[in-house]
């Protein structure tokens, strides 16, 4: 990237301290250093002209937030707000949620996906999976909730790409939401949908038979992502490894 140096910085009118509106602009933009930002906040409290300047910049720049696509917030956010404001939770009554479900609710978007050990996954796979056994030799992945140990799902994928997924525990369904399974092969720009998980969390699937592929579970609108890409938070994830 190159920026044309059309005129020297030295006689830059924008360095003129007589441009107080510029401090308000940088405050709203977010580039004012923290100490100057606090000073400007104090000034705005004392000087209505400064406050008006800040508000005018907020009005000018706020429409830019529309450039960011909406992301469903974690499900516990409303509960925290209802608690903090003293509003009774007017939402649907939900069954008491299990540990896994709560880990799921606090799971982050595309982050903190922790990877269970392939060994543990392999052991678990034999515990919870029933035939048909995918063609071998194959891959296994344990899908863990973000920031929590343990596998919520195990996945086995045979050398021919046929596979199975099974939840290790029953999860309460979330009204209006579906869990969708994704595969992100190494170096791919975007994940590929493997389909929506049925309520019991068990399904046959077809997936890339490639070690190192990330298998992800995201929360999507009922019936699956409308865009073909994950739109909700990724709740569980793991990486396939040669396992059996």
């Amino acid at each position: 990237m190159s920026i044309p140096a059309d005129d020297p910085v030295d006689d830059d009118p924008v360095d003129d301290p007589g441009a107080p509106d510029l401090a308000a602009a940088e405050y709203v933009l977010g580039t004012l250093p923290p100490d100057q930002a606090r000073a400007l906040e104090a000034l705005a409290l004392a000087d209505p002209a400064v406050a008006a300047s800040v508000r005018a910049w907020e009005a000018r720049l706020a429409p830019l937030t529309a450039a960011v696509p909406p992301v469903p917030p974690p499900r516990d956010l409303w509960r925290r707000l209802a608690l903090a404001t003293g509003i009774e939770d007017t939402g649907r009554r939900r069954p008491r949620r299990s540990l896994v479900a709560r880990a799921w609710a606090s799971a982050g978007l595309w982050r903190g996906v922790s990877f269970g050990s392939a060994l543990a996954a392999a052991a678990l796979a034999f515990l919870v999976l029933r035939p048909p056994v995918p063609a071998g030799p194959g891959l296994v992945a344990a899908l863990s909730p973000s920031g929590a140990p343990g596998a919520a799902f195990v996945v086995r994928i045979g050398s021919d790409g046929s596979g199975v997924i099974a939840a290790t525990a029953l999860m309460p369904p979330v009204p209006g939401r579906s869990l969708e399974l994704w595969a992100l092969v190494p170096d791919a720009a975007a994940p590929v949908s493997l389909g929506v998980l049925p309520a019991d969390g068990r399904a046959r699937l077809r997936a890339p038979a490639r070690a190192g592929t990330q298998i992800l579970v995201s929360s999507e609108p009922s019936g699956g992502s409308p865009t073909g890409q994950p739109t909700g938070p990724v709740l569980f994830g793991g990486t396939t490894a040669l396992g059996w």
Partner: protein, 174 residues
């Protein structure tokens, strides 16, 4: 208006405001913080401020959306300044791939269309620096590193772009 009803401590109005705006606020805060917990905190604190201060909000002041999103952005920027930004372990696939120009989303509102028009007047390389600041919440130094430009140049370019935006938006030719 929802804010007025929130000021009257109307819980149903607050819930409605949450349903309408929380995904947008969370998207904006997550883009800045890159951490779910911090983004949640930013939206939580912003909406709590709305609940507590909506009674004092003057509708004549106009632009409740600017107020709401500014609250969330300031909180997100503050959290990042204090706690730092975590690099996600799993990179989100670039949405830009499927979204030819995210700025086109601005065209859905009148104010957004005006801003879109004025941003289009700015050289794309300069505009990008403004977007890195506003949308990604990057500091001058972070933008300089990202754009491989001297810090002074970055500061100057951003200030000029802001002045150009003001002129364009306020309808006075520069």
């Amino acid at each position: 208006m929802l804010l007025v009803r929130c000021g009257q401590k109307d819980g149903a109005a607050f819930r409605r405001l949450y349903e309408l705006q929380a995904p947008h606020l969370y998207g904006v805060a997550f883009r800045i913080t890159r951490q779910s917990a911090l983004a949640s905190d930013a939206v939580h604190d912003a909406l709590l401020q709305v609940w507590r201060n909506a009674a004092r909000y003057d509708p004549a002041r106009g632009n409740p959306r600017a107020w709401l999103f500014s609250l969330a952005r300031y909180r997100a920027l503050d959290l990042v300044a204090r706690i730092g930004r975590e690099v996600p372990e799993v990179q989100a696939p670039e949405r830009a791939d499927t979204d030819p120009d995210p700025l086109d989303r601005l065209l859905q509102t009148e104010a957004g269309a005006a801003l879109h028009h004025c941003l289009a007047q700015i050289d794309p390389d300069r505009r990008r620096l403004v977007l890195l600041a506003f949308l990604d919440g990057l500091s001058h130094a972070e933008i300089a590193a990202r754009a491989a430009q001297p810090l002074g140049t970055v500061k100057s370019v951003i200030r000029r772009a802001l002045l150009a935006l003001r002129s364009c938006l306020d309808g006075t030719a520069p």
